[in-house]
Symmetry: C2
Subunit: 153 residues, 2 copies
DNA sequence: TCAAAATGACATGTATAATGTCATTATGAA
DNA sequence: TTCATAATGACATTATACATGTCATTTTGA
């Protein structure tokens, strides 16, 4: 019985750490962008293109789970920077595919590499075991919460 | 070497789950508020008063780490609901203390109890061990990120 | 006593989106 | 081939959740 309550409380604490965690993470990303002319949302576009290859705006929107209209703005901004270019899309003649330019690829990969170095520092005295466990728990919890959102009443 | 990279990547994944996790959690809270006339921010005020007892607006703001001007708005809204009342503040004659009314206490405690039940369902097939580990990891990571935000370059 | 700080109130600004709408294709089924 | 339907980009509007700035009025504490 006590166990159940303890679990619930720790879970509660875990879940609500997600906000400060996110804020801290975003602050780190922003800090890593100082000096480049990138904004956080431009970085997000570059990351998607680096990670999943060239895509259309609606595809990026689907991956980011953000409405296409806003992602369009993000992408237009990024296009203007010259880090990304449009290429003809064989699958849809009106919706060009976005792709990293060489400059864009170099930049985003350097940024991500720096972020990974930060991860190494942050994880320095945590065991791989524990990180794995934490990731698993968080994935499970997020999944459950998404499911149970409506059924709480 | 591989270990270090694996760790960094899992950590990265863990950290960036914080956003969807938060969104899912907030959706659950909102779902639990349907039927009451509460908004999420009114709920936050009630929770602070329930958890830490009667307080002034600036005190609540400090706990929530939100600017007092906005917390003032949240509190005024909550006051209008009758779930909270003002009481003379012996420590500061111009800044009344906010306290839950009986109705307010009943309501927030029921809401939180329901949220805890949700936690129990969500944690049902996770071990207390693993939840503890996850919490510890997340707390550590959040702490480190806050520290290292500026030093990434 | 008196300068500095705290508080409430109000106005405005900002970032990150969602939503609505339109004209223009593009697509796919009959 | 045609034609209804869907997809896309562009633009406008609205929403949310805050931060910031400012002011008048206490309040406090040295």
């Amino acid at each position: 019985m006590y166990n159940v309550i303890m679990k619930a409380e720790q879970l509660h604490q875990l879940i609500w750490m997600s906000r400060p965690l996110m804020q801290a993470a975003e602050a780190c990303v922003e800090a890593g962008l100082v000096g480049t002319n990138l904004t956080v949302r431009m970085r997000a576009v570059l990351e998607m293109l680096d990670k999943y290859g060239e895509q259309t705006v609606p595809e990026i929107a689907a991956r980011l789970e953000i409405k296409r209209q806003y992602v369009q703005i993000m992408c237009n901004e990024t296009l203007a920077s010259g880090l990304v270019e449009q290429r003809p899309n064989p699958r849809h003649k009106r919706s060009p595919v976005l792709a990293l330019t060489d400059h864009g690829r170099t930049l985003i990969e350097e940024i991500i590499s720096n972020e990974m170095k930060l991860m190494e520092r942050v994880g320095a005295n945590l065991s791989g075991e524990n990180i794995s466990t934490a990731l698993e728990v968080v994935l499970t919890v997020a999944d459950r919460l998404k499911t149970q959102a409506g059924e709480s009443e």
